[in-house]
């Protein structure tokens, strides 16, 4: 019963997510809306069975839903941000073969750079004055979160 309740709640989440993202667009909808949607669905999945008298373990439902969200976020963020999948998409769209020159023309590193810079300016992590980009306090806080993990895990250049 726990797994059924969690699966049903996840299906509701997925339908609402797809509908909202089509309506608002992925960048307007964004992560806060995804998190809000998840909290609403989780709250409903944990409390509604109890009101209906259905025997379900709330913590198991919550745990399984958390796992499904983590799994889905990997998929969603990968599809949204992955450069590798974008290259694969460009290759498929061009009939399966590309020269490096054509790839640079259809999806150049400069286009990627512009997209990411604009995204980070929107998030408030970067400021732009004239032609220069500058890290904001909010951006520095994001980088501070990275520091302990870098000391443990990273060797050589990243990116």
């Amino acid at each position: 019963m726990d797994l059924l309740v969690a699966a049903a709640a996840f299906a509701v989440f997925l339908c609402a997510h797809i509908a909202l993202w089509h309506w608002l667009g992925p960048y307007r909808a964004g992560f806060p809306l995804l998190a809000t949607l998840w909290l609403l669905v989780t709250g409903a999945a944990v409390s509604i069975p109890a009101w209906l008298g259905v025997t379900a373990h709330p913590l198991t439902v919550l745990a399984v839903l958390t796992f499904l969200l983590a799994l889905y976020l990997q998929l969603y963020l990968g599809m949204l941000r992955s450069v590798s999948l974008r290259i694969l998409g460009e290759l498929s769209a061009q009939g399966g073969t590309l020269t490096r020159e054509t790839l640079d023309a259809s999806y150049s590193p400069q286009v990627m750079l512009d997209g990411r810079l604009a995204w980070m300016v929107d998030r408030g992590w970067l400021d732009r004055d004239d032609s220069d980009y500058r890290l904001t306090d909010s951006g520095r806080r994001v980088l501070a979160l990275r520091r302990p993990f870098v000391a443990l895990m990273v060797e050589g250049p990243t990116g």
């Binding site: 993202w21 599809m79 694969l88 290759l91 490096r100 980088l143 870098v150 990243t158 990116g159």
Partner: protein, 173 residues
């Protein structure tokens, strides 16, 4: 009324508490190809032992308790995989690292990316990864360096395209 059971709290709580073990074990085995799965195995063993030996005597964990704990354990692997991949391959994060040294223009950022390796290095790293995964092949196309998608790559590209269309996220990347 929501009743939380002790054994469920034990199974899920120990799954959360053992997350540092996953991170530490992965950092010690990070150069090993199977570093992450092995670290997950170490964490799972610790979690299993904690659940087995900390459960109140006469009240062993029930299947729903194990499911709850395993789900949180799985979620912790996925969360750590995301953090690790963002640390090692995060494009935006690396741009912010470059900007720590001071304000820079777009061209300067492109040239100095990843300690001066540049954006072409980043693209090559992605293509190497795709090649290792058997999704593309590098070959010679009329004298130019070229890429050819493999049948497996084609399947993945179609699935990814279908998902992107369904959720309305455009080309992505």
């Amino acid at each position: 009324m929501l009743a939380l059971e002790t054994n469920q709290l034990l199974a899920t709580g120990t799954a959360v508490v053992t997350l540092p073990i996953l991170i530490l074990a992965h950092s010690l085995m990070r150069k090993h190809t199977w570093g992450l799965p092995l670290a997950a195995l170490v964490q799972t063993s610790c979690w299993w032992m904690a659940c087995r030996y900390l459960a109140p005597s006469g009240a062993p964990l029930e299947p729903s308790d194990w499911v709850a704990g395993a789900a949180i354990l799985g979620a912790s692997w996925l969360a750590w995989m995301w953090v690790y991949s963002t640390l090692c391959r995060g494009f935006s994060l690396q741009l912010m690292v470059e900007l720590q040294a001071g304000p820079r223009g777009r061209k300067d950022l492109a040239d100095s990316y990843a300690g001066g390796l540049g954006l072409d290095w980043m693209l090559d790293k992605r293509i190497d990864g795709l090649e290792r995964a058997g999704l593309v092949q590098r070959n010679d196309l009329d004298g130019d360096e070229g890429l050819r998608i493999t049948p497996l790559g084609q399947v993945l590209a179609r699935l990814a395209g279908g998902y992107k269309w369904l959720v309305g996220i455009g080309a992505g990347g």
